[in-house]
């Protein structure tokens, strides 16, 4: 198992964000995490990336527990797990290429190799022509694709994507989903995608994990999960699918 989250609990003060979440992702597998706003999806991703500490349970990456990792190990972990944020989080002062090079070069990849890898990552998101532009010169969809390329360039074994299309104009959502579906199809990397795109989940995800109130309420192949309508939330996604 590439990733295994084992009964993770996380509280912010008295508010419970995660109440014993467990899930796994196999290598090359694409898992869609779905659930209402505030149910703890982002918190879960942040815990996996060690951006937020948790209270109980453990997260295993490649069989190794993430919790006790020391800073250097955490950095190595992060280079193996790409993170794509809802709001892109590009470095505004750097060009598209430099944004991608940043992680590579500072991570110790020789400059020339880094440039090659960065360009091929850009090619995968169809943005070769934009490499010398600045984020401010790009559309939202382009920015998110740059963010995906930035994560991809590090050749991660797992990608965490936190509502990558939620901040986009509806007409720009398609280009990003297309890139993501493409990625999923190649199975070169595991993907844990937080999304509200039922269609994407149906088409690209191997499994869907449904969360509510900080806990996993269903976990299975998309058509089964949506068909089961085991929870109120599954029902509403199912309705969405039908329409």
């Amino acid at each position: 198992m590439l990733l295994h989250v084992d009964k993770v609990h996380k509280r912010y003060g008295r508010r419970v964000a995660l109440a014993g979440v467990s899930l796994s992702v196999a290598p090359g597998e694409t898992v869609a995490v779905m659930g209402p706003s505030g149910c703890g999806k982002s918190t879960l991703l942040r815990c996996i990336h060690r951006l937020t500490p948790w209270d109980e349970g453990e997260i295993y990456f490649d069989g190794a527990p993430v919790g006790p990792m020391r800073p250097a190990e955490v950095r190595r972990l992060r280079r193996q797990i790409g993170f794509v944020f809802q709001h892109f989080h590009l470095i505004e002062r750097l060009t598209v290429l430099d944004n991608i090079l940043l992680g590579l070069v500072l991570g110790g990849v020789p400059k020339e190799e880094a440039v090659d890898r960065a360009r091929s990552a850009l090619a995968r998101v169809h943005l070769q022509a934009e490499e010398s532009l600045y984020p401010a010169q790009l559309s939202g969809g382009q920015r998110q694709r740059v963010a995906i390329a930035r994560a991809l360039a590090l050749a991660p074994r797992l990608m965490l994507l936190d509502e990558p299309t939620a901040a986009l104009d509806p007409i720009l959502v398609g280009e990003v989903l297309e890139v993501m579906e493409d990625l999923a199809r190649t199975r070169s990397t595991g993907m844990l995608v937080v999304t509200h795109e039922v269609r994407f989940a149906m088409r690209a995800a191997d499994r869907v994990v449904l969360m509510d109130g900080g806990a996993v309420v269903d976990d299975g192949p998309p058509e089964e999960v949506f068909a089961r309508r085991r929870s109120r939330i599954a029902q509403s996604y199912g309705r969405l699918l039908v329409s």
């Binding site: 990336h49 951006l51 020391r70 800073p71 250097a72 950095r75 190595r76 972990l77 992060r78 280079r79 790409g82 993170f83 944020f85 709001h87 989080h89 590009l90 470095i91 505004e92 002062r93 750097l94 430099d98 090079l101 940043l102 992680g103 070069v105 500072l106 991570g107 930035r150 994560a151 590090l154």
Partner: protein, 720 residues
């Protein structure tokens, strides 16, 4: 914490150091610029700093002559002394004097000042020496002590005595505070205590009794009178005509005046004012029925040369050739009052003249006498300059002070000569005493010892005014010069010259007027602080010590009943220019301080708020970030402060560090609002597996405001 091991912090420390250095540079540069501007202002008021060293004041009407003479006097000290006429203020013409570097040391400066007395119409001088600190209100012994101690303070170039003050010339302006502090330590919080003792006191017993209170003893030779003054006093006293009065039922009191017939054709008439030919005598000592005193008006020579022997040839019969007896009348409110007794007039001068005519002096003594006479003549020359009609307007005290200075100018170099002079004088005095005592003993029963030359010092109230004019003093001086010549002639010893010398001397010694001598005596008394008969000890003691406490201790230990008089030891004050400069320096420092605060504030906002905000983004605990801000602020402001010397009157380096800490804390608390760096970018950096240092260097700082940090950081940054 791994965060602290990041190489980024090396750059950060460099930036802090650079900020401090540059900030201090800015503050100091501002201060320099202000100095230049303020310098112009000062220059227009007082001339350039160090342009002139001395202002000589002369009476306006002597301006021309004084200018010429001043130039000559100064040129005789050094060819390179420059004199420029300055403005005339309040009846005084001023001359600005620039001294060459080589004269800027104590002896040379005091020497220059002493020479000024020769300038006609001389009316004082003011040192403009810069940079300097002045200690004023000093008594003579204290002044010398301060001068000595000040000269030993590092950074002091010269300690120049003038009047009751010491002008301390510094090597550089930066030493001023420190030297002033050293001087303050010496004089402030201390007092000079003068212990006046009965003549019978054992001075060493007194000293040991008071030892616990005493910081140092100021008196020399157990007497408050400087040796050269004591010598001069003895000379004068030995020359003055003595008057002893035997009173009847009503004794006289010290300080009272009596009138004698003198050379007037008839005795004084009660109720009428005394005539110019009468003698007025001030009573200086009273012991029982006998009083003695000095002639303050008139001259007894003619009386003594043709003695008026009282008709009854009574108990106070005049000694043969040496004295005369006249009736003494009290002087009551300027008029002749009732008779109080018989007065015996004795003139050691005439005795001396006769003595010289008789057996004469041995050769060595004569040599000493010659020297003594020259010395006395020299000093009288100085005195003549002080007793010019112009100078007579000055307060007696001031005049006395200057007299002391004039007399003391030769102190160090002529110490040996002074000792010799002392010997010569004591020989002379002994001889005179022997003779007068022999004369008097037969004539004045009940007074076996000849009254030594003394004047009661306590009688300055209503004392006689000093009535010398320059001509009289010049005459006196010439006489003494002639006396010296005569003595030298005697020494060489040919018979004819010897005879001529003796005759000259006889004539000269006799040519001094009694009231002149008494007047001189009085100046000396005032200048020197009293006669030797009532010993005085001067001590420097702490302010805490009360004179009454000392008195009690002394009384218990020795049984003496001393009079103890305390006075402030002195005051340290900057010169006029220093005061102005100090004021401007304060303004300058305040502005420099403001610049320092601005630099530190700018660095905090531009550079460090960004970093502090990023630290929060990197999950560093809030209290740690706040502490870091405070430490940073303290380092920056404290450092700039310490390095630039920007001192507000109320804030030292520690204070500045504290203020900086407050500023830094505020910056830390507001860092997220002050910083333009987006937290998402920091998060992105973390998610890419960058180290905290890489995040700070490549993401945080470049996105921050353009400060020193982003400048330095630029070299190490990989993504430009």
């Amino acid at each position: 914490m791994s965060l602290l091991r990041e190489p980024f912090w090396k750059e950060y420390v460099i930036v802090i150091a650079l900020t401090v250095v540059l900030g201090a540079g800015c503050a100091a540069g501002t201060a320099r610029a202000l100095d230049a501007a303020f310098g112009e202002a000062t220059k227009s008021l007082l001339g350039d700093a160090g342009q002139y060293d001395l202002i000589v004041h002369v009476r306006q009407d002597y301006r021309e002559a004084a200018g010429r003479e001043l130039a000559r006097v100064l040129a005789s000290r050094h060819p390179d002394i420059g004199v420029v006429p300055g403005i005339t203020v309040a009846g005084n013409a001023n001359f600005l004097v620039k001294l060459p570097e080589s004269l800027l040391e104590q002896e040379a400066l005091e020497d220059v000042a002493a020479g000024l007395a020769d300038v006609p119409g001389f009316n004082g001088y003011t040192w403009l020496l810069e940079p300097s600190v002045t200690v004023s209100g000093l008594q003579p012994a204290m002044r010398d002590l301060v001068a000595r101690e000040a000269a030993a303070v590092p950074g002091v170039r010269a300690a120049v005595r003038s009047g009751s003050s010491v002008t301390v010339l510094l090597e550089g302006i930066e030493g001023r505070e420190r030297v002033a502090a050293a001087l303050r330590e010496l004089v402030e919080g201390r007092q000079v205590v003068e212990v006046r003792l009965p003549g019978t006191s054992d001075l060493n017993a007194v000293r040991s009794a008071l030892a616990p209170f005493v910081i140092t003893e100021l008196s020399e030779d157990g007497s408050g009178t400087p040796p050269s003054l004591a010598v001069l006093r003895d000379v004068l006293a030995s020359l003055a005509t003595r008057v002893r009065v035997r009173t009847g039922a009503e004794p006289l009191e010290v300080g009272e005046w009596v009138v004698l017939q003198g050379s007037a054709p008839s005795p004084p008439v009660p109720g009428a004012p005394p005539s110019p030919d009468n003698l007025v005598v001030e009573i200086a000592r009273v012991s029982g029925m006998e009083a003695s005193g000095w002639i303050v008006k008139g001259d007894a020579r003619s009386t003594l040369v043709q003695p008026v022997v009282p008709p009854d040839g009574g108990a106070l019969a005049a000694a043969e050739g040496g004295g005369a007896v006249q009736t003494a009348f009290r002087l009551v409110e300027g008029a002749v009052g009732p008779a109080v007794g018989e007065a015996l007039l004795e003139s050691p001068r005439l005795a001396l003249a006769r003595g010289l005519a008789g057996d004469g002096f041995a050769g060595r003594e004569l040599a000493q006498l010659a020297e003594l006479a020259r010395e006395a003549a020299d000093r009288l020359g100085e005195m003549a300059a002080l007793v010019t009609p112009e100078a007579a307007e000055q307060a007696t005290e001031q005049r006395a002070e200057r007299l002391v200075r004039a007399l003391r100018a030769g102190d160090g170099a002529t110490a040996v000569r002074e000792t010799l002079l002392g010997v010569a004088l004591s020989v002379l005095a002994r001889k005179l005493q022997e003779e007068t005592a022999a004369d008097a003993s037969g004539a004045a029963p009940g007074d076996g010892t000849a009254a030594p030359a003394q004047v009661d010092p306590g009688t300055d109230s209503g004392g006689p005014s000093l009535r010398f004019d320059a001509t009289q003093l010049a005459q006196l001086r010439d006489s003494l010069m002639a006396l010296a010549d005569a003595a030298e002639a005697l020494e060489r010893g040919t018979a004819g010259e010897l005879l001529a010398g003796l005759l000259d001397m006889q004539q000269l010694v006799g040519s001094l007027r009694d009231d002149e001598i008494t007047g001189l005596l009085r100046i000396v008394e005032r200048a020197g602080g009293g006669a030797a008969a009532e010993p005085r000890l001067q001590f420097l003691v702490d302010d805490e010590v009360s004179p009454s406490e000392m008195e009690t201790v002394l009384r218990r230990a020795t049984g003496d009943a001393p009079a103890i008089i305390a006075a402030r030891a002195g005051v340290v004050n900057p010169s006029a220019r220093s005061l102005l400069i100090e004021l401007l320096a304060d303004v300058r420092r305040s502005i420099a301080a403001l610049v320092a605060v601005l630099v530190a504030g700018a660095a905090l906002v531009l550079d460090h708020a960004t970093v502090l905000a990023a630290l929060r983004g990197l999950n560093v605990r809030s209290t740690a970030v706040n502490a870091a801000g405070a430490v940073l602020g303290a380092l920056l402001l404290g450092g700039v402060w310490a390095l630039s010397g920007a001192e507000l009157p109320f804030l030292g380096t520690a204070g500045a560090a504290a203020a900086g800490a407050a500023l830094g804390l505020v910056t830390a608390l507001m860092s997220e609002r002050l910083s333009p760096v987006r937290a998402e970018e920091v998060l992105a950096g973390q998610s890419l597996g960058l180290t905290d240092g890489q995040i700070l260097r490549e993401i945080v700082v470049p996105a921050g405001r353009p400060g020193l940090l982003s400048l330095v950081n630029r070299w190490r940054r990989q993504f430009r």
